[in-house]
Symmetry: C2
Subunit: 408 residues, 2 copies
């Protein structure tokens, strides 16, 4: 599953080249909300990873027959950088994202070997340069989009299933927290989903558990205007099962017969659900709390809870709604963090899901960790970087050389 | 399914802008086999289709957060241009390809409305400029790759499922006919396939019947070194069914109990098989011949034949091999045209498929039509274009203006 013989150059943060913004920098119209810089690292199967560069955000230039243009050779991650009340920058479990990017890249035959510490170090420098842009309030953050594309030629029959060259790049965008997050605030309402059977997002043996561009562009047209997103439904043995909603993992909250409150989410075993990092974090926090191993970080979580990973059918949702055992439903992911699901349209009927205050508690816990209000090992503190001063110096003096010296 | 209100500008061949090659033109290293020119036509949802341009082949430049980079917003076609013995250029059913491109584009929310005659006219001009490069022998041709990419921004939650901007471009490559076609010549041997159950190419409700990049990049890693390509196998009700092989449609040739020779290929009904144009052509030729409506173009085709479109299981293949009723198997598509399948590895066993001379007859018929050796309405004769003279004039005199005048 790897295209990288060990003799090729490794990905390294050491020889970073920093190209500062020109003193005259002004963002292009329509691109004002993007981070001003981008990080990119080229790779090819002859020399391995090339020099990492942080430079002013620019277009990507590829051959018309490159893998990304022709055969959807692209995978990505979604991450966020937060600013604490004290003004330092935080990332949330960044190595988890880069592990998943490796897995996605391997699935596409793209380079998938690097030291996450090197990549986190480079990302830390990138976000440090944008520190002034990172909102310092709940819900605001700098959205980070690591992307790996196949730049090598790919058309017709290739002798090797592996890419000959690729580019890993990271761009950012300021997230003022006005979109989905805002609707998430309206607890008691939640978002409205359309259960979609016409388009199937993923299937066993496919790519649903990988964060490939191919999983996203192909289901765009399923979105209906009045709905926040689609709830993906697939049919097996005459039963409709749910998997994800839009690009979120989904949980239902259900009263079990033994008195426990169950948080049920789709298992990863059939490979049609993305192994979400927010999903994983919620499961670990709830499991440890339920098992009395480690208390949930915020007050208010019940003790008699249980996390269950298994399939969830639409008939389970409708019948547990009818008998009152369904106590809530939510989606989670980097974009939305945690958001209540308020309504589901399914088979021409609208189902209203009960509101559960634990959803808000979950969200406040995750966002609290992310913004460093709740101290936790999952929050990665971005170290100060002297390159930021170099950049500032270069910006005022137009002194590129100095920036380069200090960037190392 | 359309993002194009009728008030937007239509795709037009009228105002083509031709940018001739510079007199000093030399191909870049590693790109010598590519056509020297490319055709591109931008589109956006405010003004519609923009000016078509034919210019020296260049890289594509897109925003790092464009739909093609992030969400695999890309679809394509494969076509070929042939040179007849008389020296004129031919395309094979080009409108069929552009109809399929519309369908693929619609599936991705990309622009999908244009007059095929306009696009064929532009393509005809592009290939006219490359006329000197088109091989004039059987198996040689100019491979044509129309591609539509989403250039508009796509990340996070989009309000609309439709692209805001896109680019339709066409590039070409000289195909000397030394690759798969050559192995196809070795009749009696045929290509070797690996029946793959680990990776599933397509499933009902997915995108298997659309020519999306997403269907191709995601299955690259299934390819095993000793095999020409994978035979895609999916399991339903405990039975393994085949769909496509690599990027080809597949037929089996089987002796039916009533004495007819059946050409059986997977039905398009469940949406997991690409509606191939070679497939469609073969079906029509055989059906009309079998029904005594129109004779098969070359001598040697049996009269008592029948085309059947239905599912084909691996157990049908192995059992009809055992009882002798399997008379042959072949793949077809623009790339390979028609190629015998000689061996299939399935469940750790190698099956040898009998050679059938009708496969060669089918290939000779299709390639004969394509190269104009068999006259048929499916062969589109590229009209002469004065822009070619303009281009030549500009090349010798460096006179861009004259080229532009004549290009209209």
């Amino acid at each position: 599953m790897t295209a990288t013989p060990p003799t090729l150059a490794a990905l390294s943060a050491k020889n970073l080249y920093l190209q500062p913004l020109p003193p005259s920098h002004t963002p292009l119209p329509g691109k004002e909300n993007f981070g001003r810089y981008m990080l990119s690292i080229p790779w090819n199967n002859v020399t391995g990873w090339g020099q990492a560069t942080i430079e002013p955000r620019r277009d990507i230039t590829v051959d018309p027959l490159s893998g990304v243009m022709q055969y959807a050779g692209t995978c990505f991650e979604g991450m966020k950088c937060y600013k604490t009340e004290e003004g330092d920058l935080r990332l949330f479990r960044p190595s988890k994202n880069f592990d998943r990017l490796k897995r996605s890249a391997a699935r596409l035959g793209l380079p998938c070997e690097w030291d996450n510490d090197e990549l986190v170090s480079l990302l830390a420098k990138l976000v440090s340069l944008e520190s002034d842009l990172v909102p310092q309030y709940d819900g605001g953050n700098l959205y980070i989009r690591p992307t790996m594309i196949e730049t090598g030629e790919a058309y017709g029959i290739k002798a090797s299933p592996y890419a000959s060259s690729a580019l890993l790049y990271i761009v950012t965008a300021v997230n003022l927290g006005k979109a989905l997050y805002a609707s998430a605030e309206e607890e008691g309402k939640g978002i409205k989903l359309d259960a979609c059977k016409e388009y199937i997002r993923a299937w066993p043996g496919g790519t649903g558990s990988y964060k490939l561009g191919a999983n996203y562009g192909t289901v765009m047209i399923a979105k209906k205007p009045d709905f926040a997103m689609s709830l993906w439904v697939h049919t097996e043995g005459g039963e409709d099962y749910i998997s994800e909603a839009g690009a979120m993992n989904v949980f239902i909250i259900k009263q079990a017969e033994d008195g426990a409150l169950e948080f049920i989410t789709m298992s990863l075993s059939n490979g049609i659900v993305l192994p979400g990092i927010t999903r994983d974090s919620i499961i670990e926090l709830l499991r440890k709390h339920g098992a009395n191993e480690k208390d949930f970080p915020l007050d208010g979580m019940l003790r008699n809870i249980r996390v269950v990973e298994r399939d969830i059918s639409m008939s389970e949702i409708t019948s547990s709604l009818a008998d009152g055992s369904l106590k809530g439903m939510f989606g989670c992911g980097t974009g939305v963090v945690v958001v209540s699901i308020g309504q589901i349209q399914y088979d021409n009927q609208m189902y209203t899901i009960p509101h559960n205050p634990l959803v808000l508690l979950l969200r406040d816990t995750i966002t609290g960790m992310q913004r460093g209000k709740i101290e936790h090992e999952w929050s990665y503190k971005v170290p100060e970087w002297k390159g930021v001063r170099a950049e500032a110096a270069a910006e005022s003096k137009g002194n590129d050389e100095k920036a380069e010296d200090l960037a190392a």
